[in-house]
């Protein structure tokens, strides 16, 4: 089968490299498989049939940070857990994004004390914050869409 035949009458699409790469990245973000507290339940529900994160190309929760693009910090981060979390983040290959899911991950929520990190943004850079205690799957999906928006708007100069 020659190229002429394959192209047929579809014509030619012109676009920029930036758009194509960002489109590809936004369509297949693989989150890392880990949860820290009760928010993880909602994250699991988001993956399950009713809400179905595979509609956004995010159904593949990778158990290894080396295969993941997105870290969903689902739950409160203790001071003992913080170095572990940072290590997992460092093991993820670029480009990588972080969603801070729920009040505890974003600002420690109601636990304003010595044991917890007051906001996971002190440990890893956060792209999207999701409010809620815990946020419903709809809220997490809204966070996904916000992240996709952000990824689609990324500039070549930044990732080159």
């Amino acid at each position: 089968m020659g190229a002429e035949q394959k192209l047929g009458n579809m014509g030619v699409v012109t676009t920029s490299l930036e758009t194509v790469v960002n489109w590809g990245r936004a369509g297949a973000i693989w989150p890392m498989l880990f949860g820290l507290a009760c928010c993880a339940m909602e994250m699991i529900a988001t993956q399950a049939g009713t809400y179905d994160a595979s509609r956004f190309g995010m159904e593949l929760m990778r158990a290894s940070p080396r295969q993941a693009d997105l870290m969903i910090v689902a739950g409160r981060v203790t001071r003992k857990m913080a170095p572990v979390l940072r290590r997992l983040y460092d093991q993820m290959p670029d480009p990588k994004w972080v969603i801070s899911m729920g009040d505890c991950a974003s600002c420690s929520g109601v636990f304003n004390n010595y044991a917890l990190v007051q906001g996971v943004d002190e440990v890893v850079p956060v792209d999207v914050y999701i409010a809620g205690c815990p946020p419903r799957p709809e809220a997490l999906i809204d966070g996904f869409l916000k992240l996709h928006e952000k990824v689609r708007g990324e500039k070549l100069a930044r990732w080159a």
Binding site: K80, Y114, P125
Partner: protein, 173 residues
């Protein structure tokens, strides 16, 4: 004669100086034990065939600050066959509180003693591996002591958002 009454009279006979007092609250018996004879009392409770307290359920520590003696340890022991629970109480001073370890008698004392050490700073003499169990290894202080600061951080609202943003340390990739 219930198993509990039998236990108390046996301890009173065997340890007239080690048993400092008994207290009862709504059917729960607490025996106050001198820390020097704690190990002997515990071994007797476990090994005496008529008593046979074979399970150590839990160890708790209390900070009675500013009272002196400041700390108290609670040992809840259980005789499974008789379905009887007993609470032992040991008072410890505020400066260098050290109790003898009973992890050699009931191995289940190992982790609760480490927890009491971690949270309250109570030492256990003869413990095989006394290090922190909950907090990170390099943590300073013992969080459940009453004089330990709670570590409150100012909450960010709209009126002070900028001010906190300016001094908060954000992580970078």
């Amino acid at each position: 004669m219930s198993h509990l009454e039998r236990t108390i009279s046996a301890l009173q006979q065997r340890f007239p100086h080690g048993l400092l007092g008994t207290a009862e609250f709504r059917g729960d018996i607490t025996l106050q034990i001198d820390s020097a004879s704690l190990v002997a009392v515990c071994r007797y409770l476990r090994d005496e065939p008529t008593l046979c307290y074979n399970v150590l359920v839990d160890i708790g520590a209390v900070d009675y600050s500013p009272q002196e003696p400041r700390f108290a340890l609670f040992y809840i022991v259980c005789a499974l066959a008789q379905n009887t629970r007993l609470r032992l109480k040991v008072l410890l001073p505020g400066t260098e509180p050290v109790a003898p370890s009973i992890s050699g008698i009931w191995p289940s004392a190992n982790w609760p003693e480490r927890e009491a050490f971690d949270m309250m700073g109570i030492g256990f003499e003869g413990h095989p591996d006394l290090r922190r169990i909950l907090m990170p290894a390099d943590w300073e202080g013992h969080p459940h002591r009453k004089d330990y600061p709670l570590g409150y951080e100012e909450v960010q609202f709209t009126f002070n958002k900028r001010e906190i943003d300016a001094r908060k340390k954000y992580a970078t990739s």
